[in-house]
Symmetry: C2
Subunit: 223 residues, 2 copies
C-alpha cells in the first residue's frame, strides 16, 4: 500500500471532507452497489457504470459492459474508479448552499484483466456476493463457460481517497431572516418486495439472504 | 443537435439495451440526482461525482467539487458526463448472469464555464430545482455573492446515448435444473422523514414540495 494521500488523490476542495482512512474507504467500497470507471481512448474520457467488488486490497469489476473499456484498459492505460452513494438532500437557507450528503471513494491506478482461472472464479464470486451476500451457496461458482464469456478487470487499492458529506445545511439560521424551513431529506437505496421470475420460482421460498438484503447489512465489516 | 448516435456514443455491448431517443435520455437526466464527470489531467482520467441539471438541450453541473476539474475543463478539454440509476438486483440461475437493472446516460463533449450572470443564475436555479422541485419559491435566486463563490459548468447535450436494462434474469428456467429461486429485487432511492436543522426549523411546517419529493415525481415530463 502506497502512503496515502498521494498528490493525485489529496482532496483539495473542502478538504475537511476528505479521508484516507483504510476502514472508511473499505466500508464505502463494500456498501455501494456500483462504480463508475473512467478511462481514456484517443484523448476522450469515458465514464462507464459497472458492478465492482472488493477483495482485501484489490477491486474487481466487470469489463463486459463496454468492450471499449476493456480494450483501453488491457493496454495498461491509467483509470479511475469512483464509487458514490447519495445519502440525502440538504435544504439550506440560501440557494447556493443546497447540496447533497454523500459518501464517495476514488481509486486511481492501472487496471489489468484477470486471466488466471482461479483468480477469475474468486473475482466473480466476490462480485456476486457484493450484489447479494449469501447467493453463492445457491448458484455455485462460475463455470468454465462463464469464465470464457465474461471479462473481469482488477485494480489494486493503492492510491485512494474518500470524501464524505454528512449533517445538515452549512448556513446557520442566524445568517438569515425569514421563515424558510431548512434541514435534510435522508435518502437510501431501498429494496421493495422481490419479484419471482418464472412461475416455477413462485413455488420456491424467497431465500433468507434476500429477505435480509439491506444496504446497511451489506456493509458489515469485512477484511 | 448532432445526429445520434455518433461513432463514439454508439452502444456497442448489448446494443439492444442502447437508446438514442431524446425523450428517454432527458427523462434519465432529469430523474437521476447526481452525475459522474470524467476528465483528463496529465494523461490521468478522473471521475468526480457532482450535481447536475438539464435545461432543454444543455447540462449544467457544479464545478466547485473539484478545482482540478474546473481547471482541466476550463481549458476546453473533452469530458464525459455519465448519469446512472440502479433499479434492482437480478438474481439469475447461474453466477455469471447476475446483474443489475439500471438506467444510464452518457454525454460526451467539451464543457465550458458559465460566466454570464443571467445564465449562471438560471443554471443555479435549475440545479436547486433538480434537487428539490419547488424550492426556489422559498429561497429565491442566487445572489451576487453566490455567483462569485460558485463555479458552474455547462455541456451541450449533442452527443449522447442511453442504456437501460430492465426485466428479469436473462437465463431461463429451462436451462437449469435444481430449485434456485430466480428473480429481481427492485431498488429505489427512497426518502425517509425530513430532519429539521435548527430548533427554529422545527417551528416551521415542512414544505409541501418536500412531502411530495419522490424520485418518480421528480421525473415529470419537462421540456
Amino acid at each position: 500500500m502506497a502512503s496515502w494521500p498521494t498528490e493525485r488523490t489529496r482532496v483539495r476542495r473542502k478538504s475537511d471532507r476528505g479521508s484516507y482512512d483504510r476502514g472508511t474507504i473499505n466500508r464505502i467500497l463494500d456498501e455501494v452497489l456500483t462504480c463508475h470507471v473512467g478511462f481514456v481512448t484517443d484523448g476522450q474520457p469515458y465514464v462507464v457504470p459497472t458492478v465492482h467488488a472488493r477483495d482485501r486490497e484489490r477491486l474487481y469489476f466487470h469489463g463486459s459492459l463496454a468492450n471499449r473499456m476493456l480494450n483501453a484498459l488491457a493496454k495498461g492505460a491509467p483509470c479511475c474508479v469512483t464509487v458514490t452513494q447519495v445519502d440525502g438532500v440538504i435544504l439550506a437557507r440560501s440557494a447556493r448552499k443546497h447540496s447533497l450528503n454523500y459518501r464517495s471513494v476514488m481509486v486511481l491506478g492501472v487496471a489489468t484483466e484477470v486471466i488466471d482461472p482461479e483468480q477469475k472464479i474468486g473475482a466473480l464470486r466476490c462480485i456476486v456476493e457484493h450484489m447479494v451476500p449469501g447467493r453463492t451457496a445457491d448458484v455455485g461458482e462460475a463455470s468454465e463457460h462463464d469464465l470464457a464469456s465474461t471479462a473481469v478487470l482488477t485494480l489494486p487499492i493503492d492510491e485512494a481517497s474518500a470524501k464524505v458529506r454528512e449533517g445538515g445545511p452549512s448556513d446557520s439560521a442566524d445568517e438569515h431572516t425569514g421563515h424558510i424551513w431548512a434541514g435534510q431529506l435522508p435518502l437510501a437505496l431501498t429494496p421493495s418486495a422481490p419479484i419471482a421470475d418464472a412461475p416455477a420460482d413462485k413455488e420456491i421460498a424467497v431465500p433468507g439472504y434476500l429477505k435480509q438484503w439491506r444496504t446497511g447489512l451489506r456493509s458489515q465489516p469485512r477484511d
